[in-house]
């Protein structure tokens, strides 16, 4: 501030110091008292030590939401993993001692006789049919693979060695499906070998005609 500015300020302060009238003061103060007496201040943000309430509460809600979401997801069937197990490739079947399942494809169920190998467990009973042609699955349970073309693509790219290991550990239905996949991929030699192994292991297993036809086509 220059000297001239200071002079202006000083002269300004010499002016009459107007004040609001008393009745205006009273009205304003009365309104301020009424506001606190009638209702609490709306939208009051916490202050002081209470400020931590809001972020802690928000964090707790977020953690709870994430935990519930993860829990729900784990409860749902993992279609990707199921597809891998259905395909006769790397993932060994880890299901418990399988039991005959009414939801399994009718064709495969009829084929099972006195084989010591029980049928695939319920959640995976539909998986062996994944990848079969549409005409062969008309009376079977819907397969998740039909809606997952990417799973079929994954199966076609798997290594032969991994397939063999997976096939041997798979259920009969899954093994057959794996053999069908090998045929489809043009791996006739492998498919024939696997088919031979299959018949040795399940001599009484009646291969469905639809599947058997595939093996006969050369």
């Amino acid at each position: 501030m220059t000297d001239d500015d200071a002079k202006v300020s000083a002269r300004y302060r010499e002016l009459a110091r107007e004040e609001p009238p008393r009745h205006v003061d009273d009205a304003i103060l009365a309104a301020a008292r009424r506001a606190t007496a009638s209702r609490p201040a709306p939208l009051v943000a916490p202050s002081g030590r209470r400020r931590w309430y809001v972020p802690v509460a928000a964090a707790a809600i977020i953690v709870l939401a994430v935990a519930v979401t993860v829990h729900v997801e784990r409860q749902q069937p993992d279609f990707e993993v199921a597809e891998q197990q259905a395909a006769p490739v790397q993932t060994p079947v880890t299901e418990p001692a399988p039991k005959r399942d009414s939801s399994a494809p009718a064709e495969l169920q009829k084929s099972q006789t006195s084989s010591s190998q029980p049928a695939a467990p319920a959640p995976k009973s539909a998986e062996p049919l994944a990848g079969l042609r549409e005409s062969q699955r008309s009376d079977t349970a819907p397969s998740a693979a039909q809606a997952r073309p990417e799973a079929r693509a994954m199966r076609s790219e798997r290594g032969a060695e991994q397939k063999s290991i997976g096939l041997a550990a798979a259920s009969p239905e899954q093994w057959l499906q794996g053999i069908v996949d090998l045929k489809r991929q043009g791996r006739d030699e492998e498919a024939e070998k696997q088919l031979g192994d299959f018949r040795k292991r399940y001599p009484d297993y009646r291969i469905p005609e639809a599947i058997a036809e595939k093996f006969e086509k050369r």
Partner: protein
Amino acid sequence: MLAYRGGDVRAFETLYRRHRGALFRFILRSLKQRAAAEELFQEAWMRVVEARGRYEAQARFTTWLYTIAHNLLVDHWRRKGLTLVDLDSAPEAQAADNPARQAEAREALHRLLHAIDALPPAQREAFLLHEEAGMSVAEIAAVTKTGEEAAKSRLRYAMAKLKAALNDD
């Protein structure tokens, strides 16, 4: 203000006593009409009371209070048909219209007060915010919602005109 937001009426009373005079003079010398100034002054404090729940200490209370007053003044001038451009230009000779102010000017520093009245509203506002509220250029810019250069320019022009008026003694 935070204490008042929490329900402490005495905190409001302290705030009011601290700022009532300066705010009243700011509004009075901006409007140059006492009745309108009292009304607008009361309205400004009513808004403070009503907004106490939303108040957050993002700036000085003084800045917030005078922003409310500024907005009320702008609304007042807008109702009078004045635009923001008009606020920066020299006003018509209105000081002589108020006999009460003429008498006051005769009793005290006539020319200074008359010079303040003669300032364009925007310059007068910058000067009064500087003198009554003790605001810096940055705070004046924040209250009047202008850039710092504009606020600085307005204050400088106001000071120059008032200095010239004083030098006429």
